[in-house]
Amino acid sequence: MFEFTEDHIKRYSRHILLPEVGGIGQKKIYDAKVLLVGAGGIGAPVAYYLAAAGVGTIGIIDEDTVELSNLQRQIIHSMDDLGKEKAISAKETIEKLNTDVTVVTHLERASSANIMDIISKYDIVVDGSDNFPTRYLINDACILSNKPLSSGAVFRFNGQVMTIVPHEGPCYRCLYREPPPPDMTASCQEAGVLGVLPGTIGLLQATEVLKLIIGQGDLLCGRMLNYEALEMDFRKIKVNRNPSCAVCGDNPTITELDDYEAFCQMKF
């Protein structure tokens, strides 16, 4: 059992002071195991803040390496990390921030072959992936393994966040049955994204993760938060669970995972 040292008391004092957290909540945070799919635009701030918050185990799935074009928004990486695996770079940054945190790196692409095994080692999943095949894969894997999922997406000046608690609220597939066909989506390379946007969305997801861990507040479960940065407009859209959803419905047809065709490898 995790016992607070003098350093822990100082480091986490602003959490312990919160009636909703306290020492009990801080211990829950330490005991939590959170898996991040992607250490890119969304994964970077989520990883950084969850590490600062004292999440005891953070897993990161990412096979990509750090490129100069990532540094406009992926704040966990820096110039020294160019060419390094993102998961390794994130681990090194986190270790400089907080040695209480154990970072587990998965230097592979999430697929139907590996994801169930990886997810089984974690309590909560954060989707910061940049493509529809992975988004559906992670959604389905979380439903099948009954793990809560924070789903986030960014595009240009727009972002969306939803928290999926399997069988308690809607899943991503309740909202959109199937991924869009590859030729229907904008070219990832050409879409662009405001650098701070994945920070905003990622921190909303990190907030949901901490709420899930300490069991406080109202989650974005059954509600999708839509953020328009240009208008500075936050709007919540009610989303219902679809009883005929292929994965979380009453008679699911998806009982094992499938890999959709990958049509964009660019990382946001």
Binding site: F4, I9, K10, S13, I16, L17, P19, G22, G23, I24
Partner: protein, 81 residues
């Protein structure tokens, strides 16, 4: 009054200053069962105001605030039921 209640736990946080006086008080309160009583000894004057205020804010009952023979502050608090 402090002589009349049964003290379940004692916390000496002399030398600590705000906000750690309350952080440590809170951690000690979490180890108690509802209705149990904690005696806190501290010497940081602002904490003699802040700690009882924060304890009340979390719903606990401050039974007594006084100075002991060493001129330290003594707070007696009962955990909320």
């Amino acid at each position: 009054m402090s002589d009349q209640v049964n003290i379940d736990k004692e916390l000496n946080i002399k030398g600590e200053v705000c906000p750690y006086t309350f952080v440590k008080t809170k951690l000690a309160m979490e180890t108690l069962s509802p209705g149990q009583v904690l005696k806190i000894i501290l010497d940081h004057d602002p904490a003699s105001v802040n700690v009882p205020k924060s304890l009340r804010g979390e719903g606990h009952e401050v039974l007594d605030l006084s100075k002991n023979e060493n001129d330290d502050w003594v707070i007696i608090v009962q955990k909320k039921r």
